[in-house]
């Protein structure tokens, strides 16, 4: 009898979970406020709240890569933003990823204040601002003053390769879809050494999910490095404080001694 009650409860729980799942997969009911030209209004200052910049894959907490930083520099834990388990690296690419990790203080472009690339810029632990107009949607990132221009008309192929890529965008109902190519092979996905080649192709889908949150999804394709496309998803949160604004992180001045210090005149401290 007791046994049967338990079983009923378990079945009930499974059914409830299934119905919740069904509710989640239905199209979001939220309809965002509109801009003057009638499009979902994405203007504002946004920021990810997760530890993906340490590692986009699930990871436990870890020690700071800089001994002197101790607890102030610890690797924050996180369940990752990659859907469906481990990144599908080709075997030789996985070896390179591991080498990147081992030499991350030397090789991570973030350490040298290089432009963060895409999608990394979207989930670094700094805010970015969207300035939206009918022809151009700008994303201005606090870190290193990075910038993305999303062209909403006159779509063209990339004229040259670049750190932040060449982004063509269009609206699909409530969703801004951005197709970005034309990357160089120099940016990383995180501090864990996850990387890509210049064949990187990112398709992002940004959908308002409430007044102050966005759903952000990106499909990442790079046949030189991965065996199949993979997807990340994360929410972006509005910085709602009244005086929120993007401030300067003119990063170069903080990394110059690290980058060029070995070339200073001998004897200078």
């Amino acid at each position: 009898m007791q046994h049967r009650t338990r079983l009923t409860m378990v079945i009930g729980g499974v059914l409830a979970a299934a119905s919740m799942l069904a509710a989640q997969t239905q199209a979001p009911a939220y309809r965002a406020p509109r801009t003057g030209d009638g499009k979902p209004n994405l203007n504002g200052i946004w920021q990810a709240i997760n530890s993906a910049n340490w590692d986009i894959e699930a990871h436990a907490a870890g020690p700071s890569p800089v001994r002197e930083m101790g607890g102030a520099g610890l690797v924050a834990p996180g369940l990752g933003i990659v859907e469906g388990g481990a990144l599908p690296y080709k075997p030789e690419a996985l070896a390179k990823k591991k080498e990147n990790y081992a030499k991350r203080m030397e090789l991570d472009p973030e350490v040298k204040c290089y432009l963060p690339g895409v999608p990394r810029a979207m989930y670094m632990p700094y805010p970015f601002q969207i300035v939206q107009s009918p022809k151009h949607i700008m994303m201005a990132f606090e870190f290193a003053g990075a910038l993305r221009t999303v062209y909403m008309d006159n779509h063209t192929p990339e004229p040259a390769d670049s750190w932040m890529g060449w982004s063509n965008g269009h609206w699909e109902g409530e969703t801004l879809v951005i197709d970005t190519k034309g990357f160089n092979d120099l940016s990383w996905f995180d501090r864990a050494g996850n990387f890509h080649s210049e064949a990187l192709h990112v398709v992002e889908r940004i959908t308002p999910r409430s007044a102050d949150t966005l759903n952000y999804e990106a499909t990442v394709e790079d046949p030189n490095v991965f065996t199949r496309p993979w997807k990340i998803s994360l929410p972006l949160y509005r910085r709602v404080e009244r005086n929120a604004q993007i401030l300067e992180i003119r990063c170069v001045e903080f990394a110059e001694d690290l980058i060029y210090g070995h070339l200073k005149k001998p004897g200078l401290k």
Binding site: T35, G36, D37, G38, N43, C113, Y114, L115, Q129, V131, Q132, S133, P134, K135, H136, M138, A140, A144, G145, A146, L147, T149, Y151, P159, A160, S162, W163, M164, L186, R242, N243, Q245, I246, L247, E248, R250, V252, E253, E256, D257, I259, Y260, G261, L263, K264, K265, P266, L268
Partner: protein, 333 residues
Amino acid sequence: MKRHVAVSGVVAVVLSAGLTLVAQTQTQKPYAAPKTADGQPDISGFWSSNTYVPLERPNNVTKEFYTPDEAEAAIKRAAERDAEQTEPGTTADVHYDFTQFGLDRSQSVYSRSLRTSLIVDPPTGKMPPVTAEGQKRAQDRAAARKAAGGQYDRVENMPIGSRCIIMGGSGPPLMNAGYNSNYHIVQSKDSVMILTEMIHDVRIIPLDNRPAPPPSVRQWMGVSRGRWEGNTLVVETTNFNGKNPFRGASENLKVIERFTRDAPDRINYTFTIEDPSTWERPWTAEAPLTRTVGPIFEFACHESNYGVANILAGARADEKRAAEAAAKKTGSN
């Protein structure tokens, strides 16, 4: 008597300018910029601050406007100076062949103006006299630079532009930088973004009358606040860090910019510089922006900065060679 003649000259200019204006208003309505979907005057798009008009009036010029022929001659002289940079064997030639790479000013759009200087106030066309405090600051800055050692001793002694920290034209104010003086303006209802091509410097100007941050927040490009006054975007910028001093300004610098689109292909851009600790009075320049074509490509300056490493390595190699030569000389004695 002489003074009387000069005044008559000014009156004549004012009258003739007035006549032109009257003629214009009789034949056509004044230009009204199209509106954005949010109902604001549309100043969006790609613009250039490129011009041959110098900030300050040349010493040998006393009038505010050239005749059209004189203006053309002044442009020709300036263009010839740009072309001189291609003279073989010169440092400039090694650095950049401006003409060959489409970088000289004549190969981009530039504002057509009869003005002899961008500065319109004071009427002399020159920056006002520098205060005693401003002069002392300039001396102190020079002394600090000297105390820091040779320019190539360490990266921190090199010019900030070479280090890809910020370029002269990033502003505010927007100043033509010799080449690539291009901007992308994007408007939303609550903010205006100005991207300066050199070196992907972005300024986002909120339009909601919020106060400037406390003085403890100081930035290379300051902090900008904007508002629409009729058809004019007025932007006030304070909170500079003083590390990229515009024409020797202090961190108390306040820049007031006015953007008025007064023709399809032109934004009448003026800026007023207020810094009582540097200049005896405020001064104002008129530096129109001319419509140009986009897009603006990514300017990854720091990421491709081979110059700093090579210059410093070269300086160290020179020192080593000199030390070896000195040792050899000592040894042979």
